[in-house]
Amino acid sequence: MAWDGLKKFVFRRKRDLPEGLWMRCDDCGALIYKKVVEERNNTCPECNYHFPMTAPERIQLLLDPGSFHELWEDLTPVDPLGFVGVNVYRDRLAETQIQTGLRDAAIVGVGTIQSKPLVFGVTDSRFIMGSMGSVVGEKIARGAELAAQEKLPYVVISGSGGGARMYEGCLSLMQMAKTSAAIARLHDAGGVFVSVLTHPTMAGVMASFAALGHIVIAEPKALIGFTGPRVIEQTIKQELPKGFQRAEFMLDHGFVDLIVARQELRETLARILGYIPGRVASGIHPALSPA
């Protein structure tokens, strides 16, 4: 086996590394100093690969301190199919809820970025790969409806390798329809939706709301697409070109407005919000006041 293939195999498994001062980059394989990675908001100092970030970390990074006000936080996933695979979906949900402190993969609420109010949503890849089940779909849709009602811009940070969550069957699939319809309503109400794609945003999430941003932003090197690269390789029985489905590839093919490094995302979002009219129609939260 060529060293390149081996390297991929050995270094992909970041989580297997012992707790310590050093870590391996998932992308370039370099041995990097953890503290530096953290200072750079979880990006690789060697290759600028963007490691996954939790939803609470995103909120802390992007929103004005103390401004975020979560909505519908008690929406709780159930096991509508009684799904029993290797284990029970409900048990898996419980364990993930304990590990993450989240009820499901999305957090949606209102807040400000550099004093500009917005409705803000973010998914967390720790929660069943950030996949979209009923709760994620419902929160994204409610966020869109709220943004339409309050005349606020809507920003959602997506990240899901799995797309629609298999464990909720067609109910998950139909969240694609639900969220897309909600974004269409926001559009018809004159609202503006900003979609931020992080590594990875694929399948049912990308084939619905995540692709529908009036403005689409991607993090560097994020994998973005419909079918996962492995399935494509198996289907067409040939190796995929370098950089296939990465953010840069998507930019080249016209599906992304801009690629923004994590360190600059807050500033960029603030600049974009400056072009979007935003006002709070009903005093939804005291922290929100039109800029």
């Binding site: 909505l71 402190g101 779909g137 319809a181 309503r185 990875p200 492995r230």
Partner: protein, 447 residues
């Protein structure tokens, strides 16, 4: 008409039919009057057919849905549509042969037809890529649907695809974006949209032309978030366990109707559509005519409102007090599992530990309520959508006020940053994190 029985579960039917044929030959040869015996056998065969086809497993249905002898889009165009005028192209890249679009008449209804084409023989199948569209297929579909809106005629979509094509070109030209755009536009297209799954409803590739005022499915078709094979590969790392996967995915028409995903199930002739294609086509035609009449009765504004609510409603979750009870019960169970595991690891049996999966009485009641909620979220077809009081039915407009929060235990705030205005509420005490195991069923991470 001779029908071949190719599926395992059709064996008893095949045997009976053989017996009938034998007896028929004997009657001719020997000049004996065997009509009474033949009658009896034919009755028996019909009965067996009804029994077998009335009790198919989900996997058997998937096999029938994929049966190459089943009527395809072209059969419906030939048998149910008059004056079909095919229109090609997406005006941007090309003409995807996996999607066929055009004007046509069904009875006295002028409609726009949009469907997946799969092909009758190998040459045809290759030409239309086995019914798996590229982005230009979805864009062609959208363009023609918008033409229908312009002409004020309804759209009828005929869904039959294993999925959108997974290929380099498809990704380069934005497969995900094309499907998303269709969902966006179909949700607000100002004309009637009727969607019918006639065979395979393969995930996003099917849904890409599947958002409308009604979603109907043939009795032996299926609609699923993932193929049974794909699901089995993720769950058990074993594609041959597709039959089990088909079971857990709840992809059969009755299940889908129960979940509120599908409005109507179109019955097939006894023995499946492949045994009587003209019969199946006639039933679909009848259904289209009846349903378009119903949809036409609604003013367009109301139609669009209902279409939005139809999709807005789909989903199962809990909120408020019910959510609290359910979540707490989940946490208690998780803690019990962790405890049982720890004790097992320590070597001792746990005589008094609660069974990890035993539901408390309150919780059982809630689970029943939850399931009822899902069911009640699915109004029977053609009737007005009953506003469901259950948590599964979402309010059409969100309350702009956050729910009251209970004081959170210190541990629950873990991992949340300074951007938060208040501590989050997680009302149950989490079980020890170390006691949970990484889940072996985790889908493979995208590289």
């Amino acid at each position: 008409m001779t029908v071949e029985y190719t599926h395992d579960f059709e064996k008893p039917i095949a045997e009976l039919e053989q017996e009938i044929a034998k007896l028929e030959r004997l009657a001719v040869k020997s000049q004996l009057n065997l009509s009474a015996e033949l009658e009896k056998l034919r009755d028996r065969a019909l009965q067996v057919k009804r029994e077998i086809y009335g009790n198919l497993t989900p996997w058997q249905r998937v096999q029938i849905a994929r049966d190459p002898r089943r009527p395809l889009l072209t059969d419906y165009l030939a048998g149910a549509v008059e004056d079909f005028l095919e229109l090609h192209g997406d005006r941007t890249y090309g003409d995807d042969k996996a999607v066929v679009t055009g004007f046509g008449r069904i009875g006295d209804e002028r409609v726009m037809l949009v469907g997946h084409k799969r092909g009758k023989n190998t040459a045809e199948r290759v030409k239309c890529n086995f019914g798996s569209p590229h982005p230009e297929g979805y864009r062609k579909a959208l363009l023609k649907m918008q033409l229908a809106e312009q002409c004020r005629i309804p759209v009828v979509t005929i869904i039959n695809t294993a999925g959108a094509y997974p290929g380099i070109g498809a990704e380069e030209r934005g497969q995900a974006q094309a499907i998303a755009k269709n969902l966006f536009e179909m949700s607000r297209l100002r004309t009637q949209i009727l969607c019918i799954v006639i065979g395979e409803g393969g995930s996003g590739g099917a849904l890409g032309i599947g958002l409308g005022d009604r979603l109907a499915i043939l009795e032996n078709a299926y609609f699923s978030v993932i193929s049974p094979e794909g699901c089995a590969a993720i769950l058990w790392k074993d594609g041959t366990k597709a039959p089990q996967a088909a079971q857990v995915l709840k992809l059969a028409p009755k299940d889908l109707q129960g979940l509120g995903v599908v409005d109507d199930i179109i019955p097939e002739p006894v023995g499946g559509a492949h045994q009587d294609p003209p019969g199946a086509v006639a039933r679909v035609k009848e259904y289209i005519q009846k349903t378009l009449r119903e949809l036409r009765a609604l003013p367009i504004g109301e139609l669009l409102k209902k279409r939005y609510e139809r999709h807005r409603r789909i989903g199962a979750f809990l909120e408020g007090e019910e959510a609290k009870v359910y979540f707490q019960a989940s946490m208690v169970k998780a803690a019990a599992r962790a405890q049982a595991k720890a004790q097992k690891e320590a070597g001792g049996a746990a005589p008094n530990a609660p069974a990890p999966n035993a539901a408390s009485p309150t919780e059982s009641a809630l689970l029943v309520a939850g399931a009822g909620g899902v069911l009640s979220a699915a109004p029977p077809s053609a009737s007005a959508p009953a506003p469901s009081p259950s948590a599964a039915a979402a309010p059409p407009a969100p309350a702009p006020v956050a729910p009251a929060r209970s004081p959170a235990p210190a541990a629950a705030g873990e991992g949340r940053g300074e951007g938060w205005s208040e501590p989050p509420s997680a009302s149950a005490t989490p079980a020890p994190i170390a006691a949970t195991t990484p889940d072996p069923t985790a889908p493979p991470a995208a590289p």
